[in-house]
């Protein structure tokens, strides 16, 4: 049982203007404390420190701590705090975990989710690491069971190799998603409680999944084919030979994931408003292509689809791999790739060493190791294994910086059915800006509601009337992943990309007004609202990129493949340079930003890399 610090209780009461009139606010501090325990220690310490500091401010001002104050006094303290504009970004950062907890509690108290009937999942051969032998062998070990790892495992197993997939996370069945509250699933399914931070200017939150299925369990299900110009660039500029016949590989991945345009029936108000706004402006927009046939609009993609409609790889690709003989070891974090360094032709992969949750270790010997730990975790893994010698390893990080803008409408927008990410507005895609209508579960949106205290509470009570748009931009590869034991991403937003974000914000505001929004919430703490398009334009003229809440998704490119041995840590066929028997088959192998949601690109690249390996070795 997590003990709730008193300062956190006071902070939640102050932020949410808890006046005792609603039951759901009482449970927020406990849930927020549970959320914090899943976060990395620095983030946890920062939140606790800030809560203690605000408590100290309250003591200095009133002689009592926040938790002991009445609702009116707390409101006065918070008002005086928000008067300091320099503190607004800090208060916004503190809001994120509290809104996550508050959104969940409010939803649970108002309308507990109805039990959904989930179909039985296709069978997987999963073994927890505690039941897996300490010593075993295989023909190929795949590190990571996400988009890339699953595709690699399927290809290698189909070629007759005995394949073991090693996954750090657990296996979650569709039925288990239906039984648990979204926030509980959130803590289980995301690494670091969803608070993976990329240090930089601005700092970015970079959530990545950790489960059998990897981030595909918690993504929105949007399946964009890699744009033709991007593939051409990968081939001609970088010499990424695995991208030859990429169209054929994308076709195969789409078939495996059953990708189709999202039907309008369960699209939800958010998506319909985006379509209406685009139509009013004459912009190109359409329902997204998704891997969720029969989607029922549960709007919980980011915490695991409770109906089993979204064809995450643990429901689509991994069952095929297991049917071909692949086995999955869960709860095993790969510490090192083992190498035999005394061979006549240089170092050669010999297997992996993984750690169980209890600290004990297991080893799997195999002449082929496929690294698919994700673009953030692959570089540290290679460094830990003594394979991080290439000077560009960990560089070239692209992340799709993203911002959100919300519009308030005169009528409820989100109803019982909603597709989480429903409509793509492609008007500005040529400029590297992709707008997607995104309606996340309560509190889980990257959009941060404005205000604190009564203002924030008011916004919370009216979230049903909000439509949310998100925009992600094709960025320059201006980040890098440092670290050995754990990844330390650093990211510096390029000036061109900052301009793109500001353009995207303006475009989303226009779209929302065109759709009939009464008010646009900019997401900027000091300039939160605009009631007319003209007011929005004037307001955004004063906004700089430092004011934006920038999230980031889709890290790629940190072990880029290419023909230039000095620039690319992996060769054109996805083999890590400097060692035999290591393939890179995740987002890190992509030579550059895919410019769209990357699941299909990663899976097609993994398919190409492993298929070429199979063809070469016969």
């Amino acid at each position: 049982m997590t003990r709730t610090p008193r300062s956190l209780t006071g902070l939640a009461a102050a932020f949410l203007a808890d006046d005792g009139t609603a039951d759901w606010t009482k449970a927020v501090p406990r849930r927020a404390a549970a959320l914090l325990t899943a976060m990395p220690a620095p983030a946890r310490a920062a939140v606790h420190g800030a809560a203690a500091a605000i408590d100290a401010y309250a003591v200095a001002r009133t002689g009592r701590r926040l938790a002991s104050l009445g609702a009116a006094e707390r409101e006065r303290v918070m008002t005086s705090l928000t008067a300091h504009r320099a503190l607004l970004p800090l208060l916004d950062a503190l809001k994120v975990p509290l809104l996550l907890a508050a959104g969940t509690e409010r939803m649970l108290h108002r309308a507990p989710p109805a039990p959904v009937s989930a179909p039985e999942d296709p069978p997987l051969d999963c073994t927890p690491s505690s039941d897996w032998p300490t010593r075993s062998t295989a023909d190929a070990v795949v590190v990571g069971s996400g988009a890339g790892g699953a595709m690699a495992a399927r290809t290698l197993a189909a070629a007759g190799l005995s394949v073991v997939v090693v996954e750090e996370g657990a296996h979650h069945s569709t039925a288990s998603f239906g039984r648990r509250a979204p926030l509980d699933r959130f803590l289980d399914l995301y690494r670091d409680g969803g608070a993976t931070i990329a240090v930089g200017n601005p700092p970015l939150v970079l959530p990545v999944g950790r489960a059998v299925g990897g981030t595909t369990v918690v993504n929105s299900g949007t399946c964009y084919r890699t744009p033709g110009p991007v593939v051409d660039r990968w081939l001609s500029r970088y010499g990424f030979a695995a991208a030859e016949d990429f169209g054929g590989h994308l076709d195969e991945v789409e078939r495996a994931l059953r990708v189709a345009p999202q039907p309008l029936d369960v699209l939800g108000g958010n998506g319909l408003l985006a379509l209406a706004g685009a139509e009013a402006l004459g912009w190109t927009a359409a329902p997204l292509r998704r891997n969720a046939p029969g989607c029922r609009g549960s709007c919980q993609c980011v915490v695991g689809c409770p109906t089993g409609a979204k064809q995450s790889v643990q429901l689509s690709v991994l069952p095929d791999a297991c049917a071909a003989g692949a086995r999955i070891v869960t709860h095993a974090r790969v510490r090192r790739i083992l190498t035999d360094r005394d061979g006549p032709a240089g170092p050669r992969a010999a297997g992996v060493l993984a750690r169980r949750p209890d600290g004990s270790e297991l080893e799997i010997l195999s002449p082929l190791v496929v690294v698919a730990a994700g673009a953030l975790h692959t570089p540290p893994l290679l460094r830990r294994s003594g394979l991080g010698g290439h000077p560009r390893l960990g560089h070239n990080l692209s992340v799709h910086p993203a911002i959100s803008v919300a519009g308030r409408f005169g009528h409820p927008v989100t109803g019982r059915q909603n597709v989480l990410q429903s409509v793509g507005v492609e008007q500005l895609r040529a400029d590297g800006i992709l707008i997607e209508a995104t309606a996340a579960p309560p509190g889980m949106s990257s959009f941060v509601l404005p205000g604190v205290g009564r203002e924030l509470r008011g916004e919370l009570e009216r979230t049903e009337r909000l439509a949310t748009l998100g925009a992600m931009i094709a960025d320059r590869p201006s980040g890098r992943v440092l670290g050995r034991d754990r990844p330390l991403p650093r990211y510096g937003l390029a000036a061109r990309d900052a301009d793109r974000l500001l353009r995207a914000q303006r475009a989303m505001g226009r779209l929302l007004f065109a759709a009939g929004a009464e008010e646009v919430l900019t997401g900027v703490a000091r300039l939160p609202r605009a009631r007319t398009p003209a007011q929005l334009e004037a307001l955004l003229d004063r906004v700089s990129v430092r004011d934006l809440h920038v999230s980031a998704f889709h890290p790629t490119g940190t072990v880029a493949a290419g023909s230039d041995p000095e620039q690319a840590p992996a060769d054109p066929e996805g083999r890590l340079r400097g060692v035999h028997g290591v393939l890179v088959a995740d987002g890190s192998v992509l030579p550059g930003c895919p410019e769209v949601n990357p699941q299909l690109s990663i899976m097609a690249a993994a398919l190409a890399v492993t298929r070429r390996f199979v063809a070469r070795t016969g």
Binding site: R135, D340, A350, E361
Partner: protein
């Protein structure tokens, strides 16, 4: 580099959980590992495993076999793969110690393993090396025996590389235990000094117990440079086989090598011919069987002791003496004492190369020791003459005295021709007598062993 292997024993204790059982069972492994190469920690050494596997109540297989991969630094892994029988089922144990520098003791002594039957996992467990009781015997049990030559016939391959002024010899001497006759086969390639084509020739000689020695020459024929051994017309020396004819003689003999190679001269001089010549035996001892036809009939030979030897160099010495004595019980004494033809060296007394192969070891350890001693001091001495010649010397705590008698009636004189055209005469007897006295210092010189060979020593004295 001396070809040595590694041999050690290891006992490990532990537990196993077999599939379908709810409790662990004690396990004990008593293994012997034998590698053909020296165990070097920074390299990967493969060894054969034999031994006994015991699983309490289920298995006791004293004939388990498998393999061991020892690579504590290069791969940080010591891997055991061992097949054994459990209640009629053939199981495979596969496990490895994963060496970690942070936990050297634990990682070098703990062996987690998995049991497989036809590739299916049927159990797993952990074995531990018992440091307290096992380390002493384990370390003391390490042996680095000389390994059998991977290809005993490789010493028969011709050494001559086309350089003029070289001579190369394959010769075999043996004593027929049934008749007491000695036999000498000499095969020689001579590459004349003046660049004329090399030619092969030789002879066959028999030393009957009750008569004078007879011999016949074969060749010369042009040297064809076979890949293995010697060929001159019908006369051949190939691994394990000697055939040919010379005058009235025709022979077909098989050769079974026994024992490791024996380098009479320093081993390096065989690999890099820096000395005027080098002499070695592909095997210290050999056994010969077959038939020798001669004018008077046929001699059937069965398991006759003897040896083959090889010489490669610039030519014959100015003066020399040679002895091959099969001392019985697997022991062999080989002596070459020679005065070189080279200017300067020819003024020295005979350099003695004496190799006593006894109980699997060669004494003195270094061939140079008997020839040059310590800068001349303590070198072995030879008194070359006929019918008797002697060699004596001391190395370490042992000294040896060898006295050889070549009976005139059983000695054959033959001419040699050097590559430079000069001649030499050798006087050879395959029915010589020899007395070998070996003494050891223990407060005083005490006899350690004495051998007397009557008519079974092979000896030769040559001069110009």
């Amino acid at each position: 580099m001396t070809a040595r292997g590694t041999l050690f024993r290891e006992t490990m204790l532990g537990r196993v959980r077999l599939a379908g059982e709810t409790a662990d069972r004690p396990v004990r492994l008593d293994l012997q590992a034998r590698a053909d190469s020296l165990l070097l920690p920074h390299r990967t050494t493969l060894a054969r495993l034999t031994g006994r596997v015991r699983i309490a109540g289920r298995a006791d297989d004293p004939e388990a076999e498998g393999e061991l991969e020892i690579s504590p630094l290069a791969r940080r892994r010591i891997r055991y793969r061992l097949g054994f029988v459990l209640e009629g089922r053939r199981l495979q144990l596969d496990g490895w110690k994963s060496v970690s520098f942070r936990r050297p003791l634990t990682s070098m002594t703990v062996l987690p393993y998995t049991l497989y039957e036809d590739g299916e996992r049927v159990g797993e467990g952990t074995l531990r090396f018992p440091l307290a009781t096992g380390l002493g015997p384990f370390l003391a049990g390490f042996r680095f025996p000389r390994t059998p030559e991977p290809d005993a016939g490789r010493h028969l391959a011709p050494r001559w590389d086309g350089t003029p002024g070289r001579t190369e010899v394959w010769y075999t001497t043996l004593t027929d235990p049934a008749t007491g006759s000695g036999i000498w086969l000499h095969h020689e390639v001579v590459a004349p000094h003046d660049g004329e084509p090399a030619y092969a020739h030789g002879w066959f000689a028999v030393f009957p117990k009750d008569g004078p020695p007879e011999h016949a020459r074969f060749g010369p024929t042009p040297w064809t440079g076979p890949a293995h051994g010697f060929t001159a017309g019908e006369t051949r020396v190939t691994p394990g086989r000697l055939t040919g004819s010379a005058g009235p003689f025709a022979w077909t003999l098989t050769e079974r090598l026994q024992g490791p190679p024996l380098h009479t001269f320093p081993r390096w001089s065989w690999r890099r011919p820096r000395l005027p010549a080098s002499h070695m035996l592909p095997a210290a001892r050999a056994r010969y069987s077959g038939t020798v036809r001669h004018a008077g009939g046929e001699l059937r030979i069965t398991d006759a002791p003897g040896a083959s030897a090889r010489i490669y160099g610039h030519g014959n010495a100015r003066r020399w003496a040679w002895l091959h004595a099969d001392l019985g019980g697997g022991d062999v004494l080989e002596i070459v004492a020679a005065v070189s033809m080279r200017r300067g060296l020819d003024r020295l007394p005979p350099l003695v190369f004496l190799r006593l192969y006894r109980d699997g070891r060669v004494w003195p350890r270094r061939a140079e020791r008997t020839a040059v001693g310590w800068a001349g001091a303590g070198r072995f001495r030879a008194d070359i003459g006929l019918p008797r010649w002697r060699v004596e010397g001391r190395a370490g705590l042992r000294r040896i005295r060898v006295s050889v008698t070549q009976p005139p009636g059983a000695t054959l004189a033959l001419d040699y021709t050097d590559p430079d055209g000069s001649g030499a005469v050798c006087r050879n007897s395959e029915r010589a007598d020899a007395e070998v006295r070996l003494e050891r210092w223990w407060g005083r010189w005490r006899p350690e062993a004495t051998w007397r060979l009557s008519g079974t020593a092979h000896a030769e004295v040559g001069d110009r």
